[in-house]
């Protein structure tokens, strides 16, 4: 695992709670909002299961610690998106909280109903970007969530030991977490 320079992390009183919200204006319309929210809920839950940090949905987007939106092309942060595939998303290190997804991708929450061969799993990318929001940089461990690439129609949502050790070094361990709970293998492809 790796960190951003200076190992930035969120500094809040314990127990730490971070709020998140989806932009009401910068979203996608071909997936039900409830399904999008569920994908993000699951992604945040995976991280909160291993560290003593709670994530809760905020009512007010502008007051949320973590602001999530789907943006196209040049969206004002100096890192323009590039259309279908290429860069899928990016997020900023603590305590910035900006989390941007490329609106040009064909995002999917269920590959059984989404047939595009360039469909990208929203929950997988969300889980990865939350790692950046928390302070993790990219890892060279291919199986880890924090590895930088993700093929279309592929899910990689479960944290691996590398991810867990990295984030726990920043925030400590959730007292209810046990390493034995990590799955042996948690990547899959639906291309077949």
């Amino acid at each position: 695992y790796a960190y951003f320079y200076g190992e930035p992390r969120w500094a809040r009183s314990s127990p730490m709670t971070l709020t998140y919200a989806l932009s009401p204006g910068y979203s996608i319309d071909y997936i039900a909002q409830s399904d999008i929210e569920s994908a993000f809920d699951r992604a945040f839950s995976r991280w909160s299961a291993v560290i003593p940090v709670n994530f809760t949905a905020a009512e007010d987007y502008w007051k949320a610690d973590i602001k999530i939106g789907f943006f196209s092309g040049d969206h004002g942060d100096g890192e323009p998106f590039d259309g279908v595939l290429g860069v899928l998303a990016h997020a900023f290190s603590p305590e910035n909280g900006r989390f941007h997804l490329d609106a040009a991708e064909r995002w999917a929450v269920d590959f059984a109903s989404e047939k595009s061969r360039v469909a990208v799993d929203l929950e997988s990318v969300a889980t990865h970007e939350i790692g950046h929001v928390l302070g993790l940089a990219h890892t060279p461990v291919k199986e880890a969530v924090m590895y930088p690439s993700l093929r279309p129609r592929t899910k990689k949502v479960d944290l691996k030991i590398d991810d867990v050790k990295g984030v726990q070094a920043l925030y400590g361990s959730n007292p209810n977490f046990k390493f034995s709970s990590l799955l042996q293998s948690d990547t899959s492809s639906s291309f077949g």
Binding site: D82, V84, V87, K115, A137, P140, P148, L150
Partner: protein, 110 residues
């Protein structure tokens, strides 16, 4: 014939696949000179493997410095280290990815 949504509209959305053209650099190595390689160098700069030289645009030449960057890329991403744009490397380069740089000076590894 009526095709069910979304296969009619969505399965061909590959026209703007950003790095698809990088396939033409397959097998390039030190001494190669391939038109457009400067774009590949910009990719390496973007993700932290090749330092930008002030007031100098990348050339299309596969020089020693670029070879070093390719080796760094291959080591960092767990690929076979050949120093060339081999099939594993070009496949990884073309893969969709996160926009956060891998090896910027702003990253510390453990």
């Amino acid at each position: 014939r009526t095709l069910p949504y979304p296969s009619t509209e969505l399965t061909d959305r590959t026209d703007n696949n950003t790095w698809r053209d990088f396939i033409k650099f397959l097998d390039a190595g030190r001494g190669s000179h391939v038109s457009g390689m400067s774009e590949l160098k910009k990719y390496f700069q973007r993700f932290g493997y090749l330092e930008q030289v002030p007031e100098s645009n990348p050339t299309d030449a596969f020089d020693d410095r670029f070879e070093s960057s390719v080796v760094d890329y291959q080591k960092t991403l767990g690929l076979p280290v050949t120093g060339k744009i081999d099939s594993d490397t070009v496949s990884q380069i073309m893969a969709p990815r996160c926009g956060v740089a891998d090896r910027a000076v702003h990253v510390t590894g453990r």
